[in-house]
């Protein structure tokens, strides 16, 4: 009996499908998503949102999470009603059993149909009024907050909000499509913010998932995994076209400027307080990469990546020159460039690829000149480089540096004054020390060395967790706490220099970098051919000082070397790394990563891949494209460009078509249609025009019978044709007979056509 019951359930479950199909074909509005598909769609929504979640405000995230949770709840309830439904069904099935068959089936279907519809509505449809009010409120909230968060973020809010809410009203198939499209849009939007390899891969995986859900909706295949496979194969096939488009499609400047988020600035900032950089160094995010090509990479201690020169000190923080003064200087040094003709030092040429930092400064090993395309890059008088626009995408540029060449040899009066000024009386003890030093050491460099000696000899420590100072007092640091980070030492040093009458300034940037690649010689700097790049992370951020020495120009002095030489010579000491990992409380912190060899190797491999990705895919700008064309086709003219684009598109399309065609051909019947099959197909097509369609499951004879009933005038001709066809198709005939019969069938076909024309 139990067995029997099971069977009834199964059958009833089967009929649900047919019932749904039934109603579906009748009324389009009754759209039905199977439970599995609904859950998959929900999962897709969650994942899509989670990709972009970092960019959303907390309140929006909360709303979205709430609505998604609500949807999950509705889905869950839906399952309960599903169960009820099947129970009901078996009950009705039993009671109706004694009725006559047709009647039974009919009423059965009807009752189920109504049942489902009611339940469905109750289960998954929130009243549209409530939904509308909710949506309206959300929109109002988005508009109100628009000013704070900026246009891009509020647009994003709107997109995600609609994406989350759309899930409530899956009433028809078009709703489903819209939801899917919105999902893809959300995915695309998330790429605005991050384009690195890992993120792109995640996005791609989600794209596959989204498409697979879409496919699942249509396919017979019930296993989701096979659908994913299908989607991957499809995407693989379309990759050809994508590559061609990527290469040849003109890189148009966007029709609209993507408004940028304000708060996303990363990296160094314009002003530096004590302890600022220490916070930055907790981040393991990539700042930029440098590719030295085949050249020898300079020693670690020479890799002072200059980003900003901070000349103004107000007793609390260092900052760049005020706008007004800077402008003046900028005007004066409008066409500033390092004069490389005078030096005999061998140049070092390299490429820098900056990650989006949403700031303007660029990095260079001073002194340097821009080689190659210098568009949008401004060289400053202090040997830093600025981008004309905020860097919102990965940007690459080429530089040539003369590492040991002196920086600017002249010092304007104005600049000298600026670099000597400090708020009087802000750090009395240091000022006193400075005066003492000034008295003891006449030589500028000896005086500087003396400060370094003090730092070196006394009990100073280098730490990521400097104790808090009152009012950013340098005195307190230097004489009391004696524990600090690079900024502390650089600040103190610069201050003492200034106080003792030596022009000095603070420089921020990055020090060192992690070499990633293969060196042929095996020695860590790569003597001959190296194939790799330097990755400079945020934790490489650094601050140092420069002092002015008459006749030698600006000299770099790094007080950090006095307290922690390892930092300057080879990078972070283990102690610092440990500190960092403690501070970050991160399971996959750099320290642990570096300790586990294979993990570190994996990390480096991935970094290398990411570098290539940034360089070739993200960095494929219109200029690169142009160069590529130039390489392939010689000098470019616009008509030529257009021609290339058109031709390559056509060729790739046709190649794709051909490829698909061949692929599909091998799957379908290899043998072509025989003559009689063609004849019969033709006559069928003729009949179809007359309104007589042969259902696929109808046999030739049955169809002939039907034709006989519907158009008696065609009957004889068509029946003859059918009989010949049947014999040709199904009877074992010798080739001789076959030919004869084919001939006669041709005649019959002619006859049939004639009759048809009458």
């Amino acid at each position: 009996m139990i067995l029997f019951n099971n069977k009834t359930k199964k059958v009833s479950a089967g009929t649900v499908g047919s019932v749904n199909r039934h109603t579906n074909s009748k009324a389009k509005s009754n759209f039905y998503l199977s439970r599995k598909n609904a859950w998959l769609l929900w999962l897709c929504q969650c994942l899509n949102i989670s990709v972009i979640a970092l960019e959303l405000s907390t309140w929006m995230l909360a709303i979205i999470a709430l609505s998604l949770a609500w949807q999950a709840l509705l889905l869950h309830q839906g399952r309960d009603t599903d169960n009820n439904r099947s129970k009901n069904k078996t009950a009705t099935g039993h009671t109706h059993r004694n009725n006559s068959r047709q009647d039974h089936q009919h009423s059965y279907r009807q009752s189920i149909g109504q049942n489902t519809r009611k339940k469905k509505q109750q289960a998954t449809n929130v009243s549209p009024i409530v939904l509308g009010i909710f949506a309206l409120l959300g929109c109002v909230a988005i508009v109100i907050t628009a000013k704070q968060v900026g246009i891009l973020a509020s647009m994003l809010h709107l997109l995600c909000f609609s994406y989350a809410l759309k899930g409530f009203e899956l009433r028809s198939r078009s709703d489903f499509y819209q939801l899917q499209l919105l999902g893809l849009f959300v995915l695309a939007a998330s790429l605005i913010f991050r384009q690195d390899l890992a993120f792109s891969l995640i996005t791609f995986a989600l794209l596959v998932l989204n498409l697979a859900v879409l496919l699942q909706f249509f396919s017979f295949e019930k296993a989701f995994v096979t659908n994913i496979k299908v989607v991957i194969v499809l995407l693989g096939q379309s990759a050809i076209l994508a590559i061609v488009l990527f290469l040849v499609f003109p890189r148009l400047s966007p029709f609209w400027q993507v408004p940028l988020a304000k708060s996303a600035e990363t990296g160094l900032s314009d002003t530096v307080k004590l302890g600022d950089i220490a916070n930055l160094t907790r981040s393991t995010k990539l700042a930029f990469r440098a590719d030295f090509g085949q050249q020898k990479i300079p020693n670690y201690s020479q890799l002072y990546w200059r980003a900003m020169v901070l000349e103004e000190y107000d007793g609390r923080q260092w900052s760049r020159q005020h706008k007004s003064t800077r402008n003046k200087i900028a005007v004066a040094a409008k066409n500033f460039s390092f004069d490389n003709s005078a030096t005999e030092i061998s140049p070092l040429s390299y490429q820098v690829i900056v990650e989006p930092s949403f700031q303007k400064y660029l990095f260079a090993l001073a002194p340097a000149v821009v080689t190659g395309d210098a568009k949008g890059i401004q060289a400053q008088a202090d040997h830093t480089f600025n981008n004309s626009k905020i860097i919102s995408q990965a940007k690459s540029y080429r530089l040539t540096s003369y590492l040991t060449a002196p920086l600017t040899l002249e010092l304007t009066k104005q600049s000298r004054q600026l670099n000597l000024s400090y708020p009087q009386g802000s750090n009395p003890r240091l000022e006193q020390l400075a005066l003492q030093l000034q008295h003891n050491y006449v030589d500028v460099q000896a005086r500087a060395q003396a400060v370094l000696n003090i730092i070196n000899k006394e009990n100073y420590s280098y730490t990521l967790q400097p104790p808090l100072l009152d009012n950013n007092s340098l005195d307190q640091f230097f004489f009391d706490t004696q524990a600090g980070f690079c900024v502390h030492y650089a600040s103190v040093f610069t201050f003492v220099m200034r106080a003792s009458g030596i022009p000095a300034r603070m420089v921020t940037g990055y020090l060192g970098g992690e070499y990633n690649g293969v060196t042929n010689t095996g020695d860590n700097t790569g003597q001959l051919a190296n194939k790799g790049h330097l990755s400079i992370y945020q934790y490489d951020a650094h601050a140092w000082s420069e002092i002015w020495v008459e006749g030698k120009g600006w000299l770099r002095v790094d007080p950090t070397s006095a307290v922690d030489p390892e930092r300057v010579n080879s990078g972070w000491s283990t102690q610092l790394l440990q500190q960092q990992s403690e501070l970050n409380n991160d399971l996959f912190s750099l320290y642990r990563m570096k300790n586990i060899a294979w993990l570190n190797a994996l990390r480096l491999q991935f970094d290398a891949l990411d570098y290539q990705w940034t360089r070739w895919v993200i960095g494929f700008t219109s200029k690169q494209q142009y160069d590529l064309f130039k390489n392939w086709f010689g000098k470019m003219v616009s008509w030529k460009l257009a021609l290339i684009i058109a031709v390559s598109l056509v060729i790739s399309m046709s190649m794709l078509m051909l490829f698909l065609h061949l692929l599909n051909r091998s799957k379908t019947k290899p043998q072509s249609l025989t003559k009689w099959q063609i004849l019969y197909q033709k006559s069928m097509a003729k009949l179809a025009k007359q309104g007589m369609d042969k259902p696929p499951s109808m046999t030739v004879n049955d169809f002939a019978k039907e034709v006989r009933q519907q158009c008696p005038e065609l009957a004889i001709a068509f029946t003859r044709l059918s009989v010949s066809y049947n014999r040709l198709c199904y009877q074992m005939l010798s080739t001789n007979e076959q030919e004869k019969l084919t001939l006669s069938m041709q005649q019959q076909y002619q006859h049939f056509i004639q009759v048809l024309k009458k």
Partner: protein, 352 residues
């Protein structure tokens, strides 16, 4: 063998086939289609299961089939206390010869009519199993061959009748066809009522195994064997084979990925919930189709033949819940078998 004899035999047998059909139809009135199918089943060397309400002429059909084909015939009424030995036979000690002697059961006839088979216990039902599949029985460990043309014609009442044991799937699968006679139409019923006296006479005579003039064999046993041979030689083109394969594949599709039967947008095919057809089923289908072609005076099989026998051959193998239906003729349009037929393109079967 070469093709020509097959054609010849087909031609030559037509007279006897018409005769047989006439004979059967004169007894089972108003059911020409069922009669043809039943004959096809026997020509295809398959076993026949006739399912219907009591009093619809099941036994009559079985009986007339046996007698017209000139085969030895015995009827066994299956009841729930019937034992396997009652069907296959048993050994008994003979005092005179001091040896065990085999008492052959009714199964040692060429045609075994297992009346109301689903009233017997499963044990007895399965005793028929070996006989049906292997054409041999084992009694006390000794295997006995059964007579050469060997048919089991079983009748059964619909399952919801009191005191019935459903036949297990394995046993259902061994019946090539399951026929249902259904109610006769007006004319036929009138005829039946008119013939009442005569008919009762005859049936009483039949049950005694008497051979009256009416019940004389139309064909000889040898001729039947020749015809059966000819049926196997009916040629089958590749297209028809593919058609059969496609049909069985459709039935298996639901079985292979049967996670959720509810999937609205899928086409009809995936919504057919049924048991999959075994290769034995498709073999039976082919054989039955050949027999149909043979009866139709053709030496090649058309898809029409396949369609004609598909319902009777496959429906009982496909049903998830057997015998839910009351009446075959009304139901056929909505049955699983019909759905499967509808989902396969005749001209391009594997192109779905």
């Amino acid at each position: 063998m070469s093709k020509t004899p097959a054609v010849d035999i087909v031609q030559a047998s037509q007279a006897s086939i018409t005769a047989i059909l006439n004979k059967i139809e004169s007894v089972v009135l108003g059911k020409p289609k069922e009669c043809r199918l039943a004959l096809a089943c026997l020509l295809a060397q398959g076993h026949l299961l006739i399912e219907d309400l009591p009093g619809m002429g099941k036994t009559t059909l079985a009986h007339v089939l046996a007698t017209t084909l000139g085969l030895s015939y015995q009827r066994t009424q299956f009841t729930n206390d019937l034992l396997p030995a009652d069907v296959v036979g048993f050994s008994i000690f003979d005092n005179e010869t001091n040896r065990f002697e085999l008492h052959k059961g009714p199964i040692f006839n060429q045609v075994v009519l297992a009346d109301e088979i689903n009233r017997a216990s499963p044990k007895t039902q399965s005793a028929l199993l070996e006989a049906m599949a292997e054409q041999q029985v084992s009694i006390d460990g000794i295997t006995h061959e059964l007579p050469m043309p060997f048919f089991v014609i079983a009748t059964q009442n619909p399952l919801f009748h009191a005191g019935t044991y459903p036949l297990p799937e394995s046993q259902l699968d061994r019946f090539m066809m399951r026929l249902s006679l259904g109610f006769p139409d007006l004319k036929a019923e009138k005829q039946i009522l008119l013939n009442t006296s005569q008919r009762t006479n005859q049936t009483s005579a039949d049950s005694k195994g008497n051979s009256k003039a009416d019940n004389e064999a139309v064909v000889a046993e040898a001729e039947l064997i020749v015809m059966q041979d000819a049926v196997t030689q009916v040629s089958v083109s590749n297209d028809v084979l593919e058609y059969i394969i496609a049909l069985s594949h459709v039935s298996r599709r639901a079985y292979n990925g049967h996670i959720s039967p509810v999937n609205n947008t899928d086409e009809i095919a995936s919504e057919i919930s049924c048991k999959p057809l075994s290769p034995r089923a498709s073999k039976a289908l082919l054989q039955a189709a050949k027999a149909m072609a043979f009866i139709d005076n053709r030496d090649y099989v058309l898809p029409d033949d396949v369609q004609a026998v598909f319902y009777v051959v496959c429906q009982h193998r496909l049903e998830m819940q057997p015998n839910r239906q009351l009446d075959a003729s009304q139901l056929e349009s909505s049955s699983v078998a019909r759905q499967i037929l509808n989902s396969v393109d005749v001209l391009n079967p594997l192109g779905y």
